[in-house]
Amino acid sequence: MARRLLAVPPIFVGITLVTFLLLHVVPGDPARMYLGEGAQDPRVLAALHREWGLDRPLPVQYVDYLRNLVRGNLGFSIHSGRPVAEDLRHFLPATVELSVLSFVLAVALGVPLGVLSGARVNTGADHASRVGSLLFLSMPSFWFGLIVIYVGYFLLGWLPSPTGRLGMTDTAPSPVTGLYTIDSVLAGDPGAFARALWYLLPPAVTLALPSLGLVVRMLRTSIVEVLSQDYVRTARSKGVASRGVLYRHALRNALIPTVTVLGVQFGLLFSGNVLVEAVFSWPGIGGYLVQAIQWLDYSAVMGCTLLIAGLFVAVNVLVDFTYAVLDPRVHYG
């Protein structure tokens, strides 16, 4: 495990190098961009270059960039008019709330479906859940989000408006964690909790479906594989009921590879959020990133990229720990 942890800091350095290069090399001159298309007085340009340190060698600029990162300075966002770090802090809770709920949904629905599919191979239920999970994996989630809004909100009027975390006239619970569902419980307001959950559900379900599809496929494959093992035959031949075989012998072992997939999925949810948030006007990191892209707001784009990649790596390390706990055969280092 120590070796696994030692590999993490260089990856973080690599991530910052990528965002730095994308920020400073590819998009051209930020000073020119800042001044706009019109009047570009060369003296003003040179002054800006000096002020921002753009006239210095690239490696020096990278060290500056790192120094700023350590201080929590991610630059200034053109489109929000605030420091990027402040924006990220502001938008992160909404993204966390959405990611956690969709992850819970994907697991709560995916594990039973996967077990069902794997235990009853080639039955109607198996075929249905296989085809369903493939469809979920094959559709663009932003498109499905639009369909959910059209059918659920516009056509039937069953679902809340796609206006973000609450309706136009609702007030947010007083912030403690920044997660509306938890804050409303802390404030002892069941009505606010129900409302927050109500607005959370459509984007969360949209986001959960692709992960759900993957979980079902993974678990089905491993259940089928485990059920053909010798120890399962032994358990059967000594008279263990088939339900007992499935849950005590098969599921426990089949879950091990699935946990890895789940962990990666949880990390990926933060990125899957991007377009789904934009579709549902969800005020999270994803919606912020899409706006930043459309505004050519490079500091904000790379700030989001850095944050999402950092979370992804951190979650993956956590998953490896879990894996080592679940599977005593795995020892790192």
Binding site: G14, N122, L146, S271, V274, I293
Partner: protein
């Protein structure tokens, strides 16, 4: 057996023939293949299949619901959706082929070299891959796309770069196993050059996992490129790329105009499903552990 080991190319030829036979018996992957062949035919014969010019503006006939005149309706500029989807097949299939072609074409040789030579070369290549794989693909593709600027082929490059590391890591793993094989040792003992060993003995034997990954990867590339178009980074108007078309219909949706966004989404779903089904079938066929089949 000794005979086969001495002529790996013969064994590989047989392996592919057996694989093709088994694929033919796999129902779902055949469905995938049929879907893809149909789309390829539609793309190739687009001028014949499409009832109208995909970019012809008709202000009088805009936002028309699906009808006999316009089977899938018209968009904000009165362009025929069906014709745009038919021509869009050209773009989306090209995106899949080019993005995966570049990613596998660049990533595989790097992975083979890393796995075969090991040491410092291996370390250098794999550390770069570790960093690239530390980004979720959608976010890396968006960041690259934002840095490169809007444009269909820039978006395709962003998608390709995003996928390179995956192919490199896959090829490296297979090469590590392959280079220990007896026939590689035999070739080396006969004095074959590294290039000959890699090209003739190592590469043909690691190609099947790359093929499996490429098939599923094509579907994924279509999804990624459509996502980039959806936020305005990929194909630019009036290009009838499917992801861009979904974006064009997005603001009409809340006025009840559902057909602009819905149909291109279905087109994307069917193509990605085709690649996924075919990829599943190929994996089952090439996977030596039959356990994952059934």
């Amino acid at each position: 057996m000794a005979d086969v080991a001495a002529h790996p190319a013969v064994a590989i030829g047989n392996q592919w023939r057996t694989a093709a036979r088994r694929l033919r018996r796999n129902g779902l992957s055949l469905v995938g293949l049929v879907i893809l062949v149909l789309w390829a035919l539609i793309a190739a014969a687009a001028p014949v299949v499409a009832p109208q010019d995909p970019v012809a503006v008709d202000v009088a006939g805009r936002l028309q619901a699906p009808s006999r005149a316009h089977l899938l309706g018209t968009d904000f500029y009165g362009r025929d959706i069906l014709s745009r989807i038919v021509y869009g097949a050209r773009y989306d299939l090209a995106i899949a082929l080019v993005a995966v072609g570049v990613a596998a074409g660049v990533g595989t040789p790097f992975g083979v070299v890393a796995g075969y030579y090991g040491g410092g070369v291996d370390d250098a290549i794999m550390r770069v891959c570790d960093v690239l794989l530390a980004f979720p693909s959608l976010v890396l593709a968006l960041a690259l796309g934002a840095a490169l600027g809007p444009g269909l082929w820039k978006a395709v490059m962003a998608v390709a770069i995003t996928s390179i590391a995956g192919y490199a890591r896959l090829a490296r793993g297979s090469t590590l196993v392959g280079r220990e094989e007896t026939y590689v040792e035999a070739a080396r003992a006969q004095g074959a050059s590294d290039v000959r060993i890699l090209g003739r003995y190592v590469l043909p034997n690691i190609i099947s996992p790359v093929v499996v990954r490429s098939t599923v990867g094509m579907g994924f590339s279509v999804l990624l490129a459509a996502s980039l178009s959806f936020v305005g980074l990929g194909a630019q108007p009036p290009t009838p790329e499917w992801g861009a078309m979904i974006n064009e219909g997005r603001n009409q949706l809340v006025t009840g105009v559902w057909w602009i966004s819905t149909f291109p989404g279905l087109a994307i779903m069917s193509v990605v499903l085709g690649f996924n089904l075919l990829g599943d079938g190929i994996r089952d066929v090439l996977d030596p552990r039959g356990a994952t089949r059934i």
